[in-house]
Symmetry: C2
DNA sequence: ACCTGAACACCGTTCAAGT
DNA sequence: ACCTGAACACCGTTCAAGT
């Protein structure tokens, strides 16, 4: 409860959780997740690698804190839009999560690889479930819908950021798919190739999000039509 | 086209892509992705680590081949169920993908971390898009629906396998969530806690899959009501 | 042709010792 | 109290040299 970060009478610490987290997120944006090592982070902080372990028990711990930090403020984005119906508020929340993950290089990979349970993540989840419960959905449906939307959003953004990285740096992989599909072996992929290789990820995300919300609407038994 | 694996007159090779792939998947099941190193795989094959690079250019290459291998046979599973309507065939395909990923430890993580474009993956995609096109969906909708379902399935299974690992080995994390939620800070999470912490992942997967299919049904303009 | 041996340039993590 | 220095036990990848 008081180990580091408590004001003491010793030398002022060159390290602390908040500054380290900030530097780690900067490093992530500049170099990507694969290049984010404890040694490089320590270097950026002007310190030896071992010193980081006074503030983060493991690298996984650091990544979890980063994931939590990335979602800071996402839940409030939907409260601003009050008065809208539940479906629009849900869509706003999902879009806010995607945007938050996209805001950092490999953001979806960091989030998917951790199990953050800080106030940002829990606040987001609570707001999400609240929107549905107040709209008259059953508790079970509301909780399951949270997972559906979050898992879809993370899955989509994972794919989106992977595709963005494949574009620059490895353009062979894209044309490799094109070549493989351009035969009579995969007639349906061939026929839909323009859409399959489209880079309009926002449109793609909206399509799936709309399907899920439409599905929710179908099982919506309005008790109090607010 | 003929470098290794072609029958030659030299010593019989102790290594080849197929056997190495098999061993890698076994090792994955036994020890998990984090313990799957080139050195340990080489050890299991009775060979030095460097020798693996005659068959796989990089570790990423090996993982991609593993992902492709994992999805072998998933597309045929839906062809067996002929005569069903498009929605049931779609659900069968999605379930088959989840099952294939669940069949290997960290299967979803391997799949999400690669960009496999082999016949298993492309065959699956072609079958999926074909079901929708033949049901009368527009090309654009069919292609986008593929991404929606696949991204949802991967996102869900990623979460499912992560939760399974968190259960045994790190049971504090689960109760940590319970403790954090059991306050008046997150009233909606508190009210839905039983569903949120349920381990019936099949039911959870079916819920989201059903929402997506219901959403597709809503925009289904039947041209030929087969 | 296929594999070994050894190296290169790294990793995450720990911990006595310094200040 | 906070950080250094150095070590431990590893990594992925390359490549001359052997057989």
């Amino acid at each position: 409860m008081s180990s580091p970060s408590t004001p003491t009478r010793g030398r002022p610490a060159r390290l602390d959780r908040a500054r380290t987290l900030e530097t780690a997120l900067d490093l992530l944006n500049q170099s990507g997740l694969d290049a984010l090592t404890m040694r490089r982070l320590a270097d950026a902080m002007g310190v030896q690698a071992g010193a980081l372990y006074r503030y983060f028990a493991t690298k996984q711990d650091l990544l979890t804190a980063m994931a939590e930090r990335m979602l800071e403020g996402v839940s409030t984005s939907a409260q601003a839009i009050d008065g809208d119906d539940w479906s629009e508020r849900l869509a706003t929340l999902a879009r806010a999560q995607r945007t938050a993950l996209l805001a950092h290089r490999d953001g979806a990979r960091v989030f998917a690889g951790t199990h953050a349970t800080g106030p940002s993540v829990l606040g987001f989840a609570d707001t999400f479930v609240g929107v549905l419960r107040e709209a008259g959905f059953q508790d079970e449906a509301a909780a399951r819908a949270l997972y559906t939307v979050v898992n879809y959003t993370v899955g989509h953004t994972l794919e989106e950021q992977a595709a963005l990285q494949a574009e620059d740096g490895d353009p062979e992989a894209v044309s490799a798919l094109r070549d493989a599909v351009t035969t009579d072996t995969y007639p349906h992929l061939n026929a839909t190739l323009p859409t399959l290789t489209s880079t309009d990820f926002t449109r793609l995300f909206e399509f799936g999000l709309d399907l899920i919300i439409e599905g929710l609407r179908a099982r919506h038994a309005p008790s109090s039509a607010k």
